[in-house]
Subunit: 310 residues, 2 copies
């Protein structure tokens, strides 16, 4: 299981390859909630998302012999671009299996970082990836069910607690659970009196139901949400870490997600993708509990086509 | 004339009322230009623009007797909101003359900070303001022809040079010239080997023609530009300071302004209003001169309705 020591080691390992992102505040938001909110801007991170942290930690953890064989993953989202970025930073090969249906802009991002792409039917992603991985002997870097990735994602919370030590609450989005698990490890070790809340779209509420029932529930299939980065089901080690560290899930509906993303754009001048805006939607949903609290939120990414705007 | 000492005094005076805004970088942008660009994010400033700096310096420079009579200005833009914000921060009255044609969102912002508004026909702004000012005995805080305002705006460059000392070039937008004049004072004192470039929309190129001819040219009337914050003509003391400090103006056309604002939104995840995006348009226009340079740019504001987006 991932520990604080793993996260600290990850922070040292990735330091030269990721931004130390700023923490921003908004008196408008503080006034609305009657609390103090500190936004850790991972939307301003390399590749526009915290995923650069986990991917860099996985890539720079490889010994030279393993690194020489490169890395591989299957993803149509931010993780693919992040892994391609990390591989280029180390100067090794990266292979990405993408569904034929992946948006052109995401394909272009992965290709722009120099990764090799193989397309497949959406249902054949894992099989295609497994076959290609055997062929290349590359290290498979899973987007969230991977201890190096979880430790890397935890470095965002580590920095946040350095920047604002005395938080009462830390809120992150949850999809596969890499960011949430890494955050829970860090906060429970360094700031045990603070709670961790995971914001989850109501449309894909498997994490909420998993924690409520104590059994990991399957991902919701065929759901529609603006939070396209959170469609994934909660991973197994991630589920365990969330349980062990007492993470609470707050679900949010689509209008609340859009309103939150719009607030960041219009009032805080930040592009925050809907998956990341869930954290503000969650705060608004439990506002009466928050009076006087000092709250850290992780704005996990800023990659969006603005389809939700008006 | 405004000096470095004035700017330093302003920085101390306003410290508790404005953000120390972050400086962000983009490897994509650096790669495009073959240079290193450091973006001072005044779009993340209080009221969404550097104008909070000058307004706070003017308001907190007043002695108690003068402050008791409040402040007044005429403006339909960021300066009105900034003065209202500053007055509220000091707990004094603020009066703003606005044209009847001012956009509702800007009226709401000024009102939201508690200022009193008087509407008038656009051509009667100055007369209305003068009459109201006599009636109240309030201090008129001009948006840019004011030494306290110029000194306050200069604090952005002061911070930038603390954050990134070894710059070769600093680029700011120019409209009335408050930001540009304050920046020129700071850079020529603290980093004399660095040049200052002012970015100006081609559609309102009075600053370019003023510096080229050595005589201040009248503002361009009836022009259309996305850079609505730069429609103002260059002020008289501002013109003198730009001449004295050897500022160079680079003009930019509308497609270049829109492309630059879009780059900030899509790639840097920042809302940068078109007036502010002119700085990137200017860099792109003179890119061959910039190879290897370390360049500071001031992203002066983020208040926009996104009408330029696609």
């Amino acid at each position: 299981m991932t520990t604080l020591a793993d996260v600290r080691a990850a922070a040292a390992r990735i330091r030269d390859h990721v931004h130390r992102t700023p923490v921003l505040t908004s008196s408008t938001l503080d006034g609305e909630l009657g609390a103090q909110v500190f936004a850790k801007c991972e939307n301003l991170q390399k590749v526009g998302a915290f995923k650069a942290r986990g991917a860099c930690n996985a890539v720079f953890s490889l010994d030279d012999a393993m690194a020489a064989r490169g890395v591989i993953t299957h993803s149509s989202g931010n993780h693919a671009a992040a892994l391609a970025y990390a591989a280029r930073a180390r100067g090794i090969a990266c292979a990405v299996v993408m569904p034929e249906t992946a948006p052109a802009v995401k394909v272009a991002a992965v290709r722009g970082y120099g990764a090799e792409i193989r397309f497949c039917k959406p249902a054949e992603r894992e099989a295609t990836c497994t076959a290609w991985q055997r062929e290349r002997g590359a290290r498979l870097v899973h987007p969230f069910e991977d201890s190096d990735v979880i430790a890397g994602q935890g470095t965002a919370a580590l920095e946040l607690l350095e920047q604002v030590p005395d938080l009462d609450l830390v809120v992150v989005p949850v999809g596969g659970g890499g960011l949430c698990a890494g955050t829970a490890v860090v906060v429970s070790s360094l700031r045990p009196q603070a709670r961790v809340i995971a914001a989850e779209p109501l449309a894909v509420d498997d994490a909420a139901r998993s924690l409520a029932t104590g059994r990991r529930q399957p991902r919701v299939e065929g759901a529609t949400t603006w939070a396209d980065g959170l469609l994934t089901g909660l991973g197994e080690p991630n589920f365990r870490l969330l349980i062990d560290h007492g993470v609470r899930v707050v679900t949010v509906d689509e209008p609340a997600i859009v309103a939150a993303a719009t607030f960041f754009l219009q009032r805080m001048k930040l592009v925050v993708e809907p998956s990341a805006a869930t954290v503000l939607a969650a705060l608004r949903g439990i506002a009466p509990e928050l009076r006087g609290a000092r709250i850290g939120i992780v704005l996990s990414g800023g990659n969006t086509d603005f389809g939700w705007l008006r």
